[in-house]
């Protein structure tokens, strides 16, 4: 019966990250692998969800308020002008927003550029849609963009570039110059940019997250994906979104509606509360994570891990195994 599996699913392998988390659970290890917090979600957000459940907001819904708030924050944070009625698709997490964007944009045989290292899900999603993932390595030790390598990776079949910034797993925040280079390439080659900005509020040392959609020529070809998960420590709620020009958003919406139809209703309601959090909340979030970053970097360094690049954002640090470590990265985990 194994022959009955689709070709694509047979080539996909289980997520090593999820496997490690299961192993951690079984062994009682402290999990610093999978990217989710062990501290609480903010009380005002949890209460909003509870109120929604009690107020009988439990049937299929699309909560327009989320779109309105996103439009406002994008204007405020990034100077982006989006139409909340047409440009936003609420999805089950950034995961689904990304999947829907890929299925909306990618045909069989289309190539999609990814920066290496990359979050493991992107390439499998692209493959599931019939696309071909093409890796553009970032240059260690600071994971800088190599414009030469980038340009050489484009072919006539390149349909999109995936941009994850702040970056998982390196903690890099793409600089303005790097974004300009990527933007220039996308415009020249007439490609989509599909972004994953879930760590947009988690940047350190005065680094500012810049949305590539704000660069000249980019808004019309960019799909922004993000979510509540990391900003509000609710990774298990599955509330995310895709933002794109109306006709592209419409295509994404069409796909989303066939994948899940809608995101969990009470959490959509809670999102409205979350997205209205005062600036103090975001300051606090940043400060907390920066303190944790400093602690972890210091701790790992003192244990002999080499940390050549101090994370500028996200919740991850890329550490080189100590010299005297015998096992490979996964076996040693």
């Amino acid at each position: 019966m194994e022959a009955k599996l689709s070709r694509i699913s047979r080539t996909l392998t289980p997520s090593p990250i999820q496997e490690l988390s299961h192993l951690a659970q079984r062994c009682g290890a402290i999990n610093l692998a999978e990217g989710f917090p062990d501290f609480s979600a903010p009380p005002h957000v949890k209460e909003a969800a509870i109120s929604a459940i009690n107020a009988d907001l439990n049937q299929y819904r699309h909560v327009q308020g989320i779109c309105d708030l996103l439009a406002a924050t994008m204007r405020q944070n990034y100077g982006l002008d989006i139409n909340p009625l047409t440009d936003v698709v609420i999805c089950c997490g950034q995961s689904e927003a990304f999947a829907a964007a890929i299925f909306a944009a990618i045909n069989q045989g289309d190539e999609v550029l990814l920066f290496d290292p990359a979050y493991e899900t992107y390439e499998s999603c692209i493959a599931l849609a019939g696309g071909i993932p093409v890796y553009v390595p970032l240059d260690p030790p600071y994971w800088t963009l190599n414009v030469d390598k980038l340009m050489k990776s484009f072919t006539s079949r390149t349909k999109a570039v995936v941009l994850n910034s702040p970056h998982n797993p390196t903690g890099k925040v793409f600089s303005k110059e790097e974004l300009q280079a990527i933007a220039g390439a996308c415009c020249k080659m007439d490609c989509f940019a599909i972004t994953d900005e879930v760590y947009e509020y988690i940047t350190f040392d005065m680094q500012k997250h810049i949305s590539i959609a704000t660069l000249p020529g980019m808004q019309e070809r960019t799909v922004i994906t993000s979510s509540l998960s990391k900003t509000f420590s609710v990774t298990g709620w599955r509330i995310g979104w895709a933002c794109a020009p109306a006709s592209i958003a419409s295509a994404i919406r069409s796909i989303h509606v066939k994948i899940t139809d809608s995101a969990p209703a009470p959490f959509q309601e809670a999102a409205v509360t979350a997205l209205q959090s005062p600036p103090a909340y975001f300051k606090f979030l940043k400060a907390e994570y920066e303190a944790k970053r400093d602690f972890v970097v210091q701790m790992l360094s003192s244990l002999g891990f080499q940390i050549r690049f101090k994370p500028q954002g996200s919740v991850f640090v890329f550490a080189e195994l100590p010299e005297n470590w015998l096992l490979s990265d996964v076996m040693g985990a």
Binding site: N58, Q64, S95, A129, W237, A251
Partner: protein, 466 residues
């Protein structure tokens, strides 16, 4: 589980390198194969003209309450307009958006949308609230919170007598919609033949098209929507990959009989065909016993059984569904699922586990309440002059509207909203060939009794032959 079924243990270590080139090689070698053909994209001229006027997409589950304006021009048109994927050619907006907008405009009583206007039971809501308060707000295990998987298996065992492994044979998804998407994307190759029974829930055709499947459609016809045996026998062959069955059936309320399921089973075993079943209305089985295909001899090994929380517990917006299948099929479902949504809402899973442990009395009461609602609606529909087809399950009823003299189902529904103030759904959207559904419209009775009575009253007062 670390290994895919087709790889040996010596590949174990290399597979676990997240950023290795090995995985990429594995992917690219599988992709440099013979060109796959995309599924046939049959043209549906009626459907596209119907939908061309609206640019937003929605299923029957409900449009947003605010209008979404079509925008044909982007602000700065690029030199060569970026093309969205070809697979979207068939995806336009649905009739549900149009009807919902009209309904709001005319203040109509909405018996079109397939979700309740009453809420779920308190004990389930409380369980979700408790889970949120207890901090169960982070990623659940991708294929389901263990306690929920166990509850699913226990319930399935009670219903079918089948013993299933919660760790290896259950996948939790964001609603049954995602279970369907994951099953199809995980188990169907482009070009594979899949058999569908029309009328069908609208996501089936769209998702099969996304997977590039070749759809073979068999129409179920009034008055009893029974499976046409000869047509089925000539449709199924060794080339068939899967058959998709929805029972109890949306929109007709038909329930596949044991004889029908046995016939389909025999043909599937003979031709080595998979079966995907959507059983979300299994607890809304009124006039007949619900039978799961998976429980028939020889069928578990080739069946994916899908279900969800929403209809049984009136919590359609929570998006909790699941797929039960033998390990080798679950593999495909889980792979697709992990790249579609990664994980399912955590607090709701905890609550769903509590829900599925509800005593039998809950289901008895659920049925009793729905049967009372159905009686109100059906009596009313008959009294005003519809030809009402018997519905054995679900909370839908289809009727023949032609006694009122309108040319087709869409025209009738528009008339019903504007002149009578009641919403029904034109069933032509549920057919591959819309012509086949033009005499039928679908009403739902998942509304409180006052709403149903109000709708019946309006129809009695205002519905006239044209």
């Amino acid at each position: 589980m670390f290994l895919s079924p087709s790889l040996s243990s010596s590949d174990h270590v290399m597979l676990l390198r997240p950023f290795s080139t090995f995985r990429r090689a594995l992917l690219s070698s599988s992709l440099s194969n013979t060109p796959r053909t995309l599924g046939s994209f049959a043209s549906h001229s009626t459907k596209t003209t119907l939908m061309a006027s609206i640019s937003t997409a929605s299923t029957e589950k409900g449009a947003s309450s605010t209008d979404q304006e079509p925008q044909k021009q982007q602000q700065q048109p690029p030199a060569r307009p970026l093309q969205v994927a070809k697979r979207l050619e068939k995806f336009k907006t649905t009739i549900f958006t149009q009807m919902s907008m009209l309904a709001i405009k005319h203040g109509a009583v909405n018996l079109g949308q397939g979700f309740p206007n009453f809420d779920g039971p308190n004990f389930v809501k409380e369980a979700a609230i408790q889970a949120i308060r207890e901090g169960k707000n982070q990623y659940a295990r991708g294929y389901g919170v263990p306690d929920f998987n166990s509850a699913i298996v226990a319930r399935f065992g009670k219903d079918t007598g089948l013993e299933v492994d919660p760790e290896k044979e259950v996948t939790v998804t964001s609603g049954c919609t995602e279970a369907i998407a994951a099953t199809i994307l995980g188990l169907i190759n482009p070009g594979d033949e899949v058999i569908l029974f029309a009328p069908f829930y609208d996501s089936y055709e769209a998702t099969l098209s996304m997977a590039g499947a070749k759809i073979k459609c068999i129409t179920l016809r009034p008055p009893d929507f029974s499976v046409p045996v000869d047509e089925l026998k000539s449709a199924i062959s060794k080339n068939t990959r899967a058959v998709l069955i929805n029972t109890p059936h949306n929109p007709t309320g038909k329930m596949f009989t044991r004889e029908e399921l046995e016939l389909i089973a025999a043909l599937c075993i003979e031709n080595d065909v998979l079966v995907f079943t959507d059983e979300v209305y299994d607890k809304l089985a009124f006039e007949a016993e619900h039978i799961s295909m998976a429980s028939l001899p020889g069928m578990y090994e080739r069946t994916v059984t899908m279900n969800s929380l929403g209809k049984t517990f009136s919590l359609t917006g929570w998006k909790i569904g699941w797929a039960i299948a033998p390990e080798h099929l679950t593999w495909g479902v889980r792979q697709a699922h992990s790249f579609l949504t990664f994980a399912t809402s955590t607090p709701m899973q905890w609550a769903a586990a509590a829900a599925l442990r509800a005593p039998d009395s809950y289901y008895v009461e659920l049925k009793r309440d729905y049967m009372a609602k159905k009686a109100i609606l059906v009596e009313g529909l008959k009294a005003v002059g519809f030809v009402v087809y018997p519905s054995s399950g679900t909370y839908f009823v289809v009727v023949d509207h032609t006694p009122f003299g309108l040319e087709n189902d869409v025209a009738f529904c528009e008339y019903l909203i504007k002149e009578v103030g009641v919403v029904a759904i034109p069933t032509s959207v549920f057919y591959l060939n819309p012509e086949e559904g033009k005499n039928l419209v679908r009403f739902t009775f998942c509304k409180d009794e006052d709403t149903l009575k109000a709708a019946v009253q309006r129809m009695k007062q205002r519905l006239r032959k044209i």
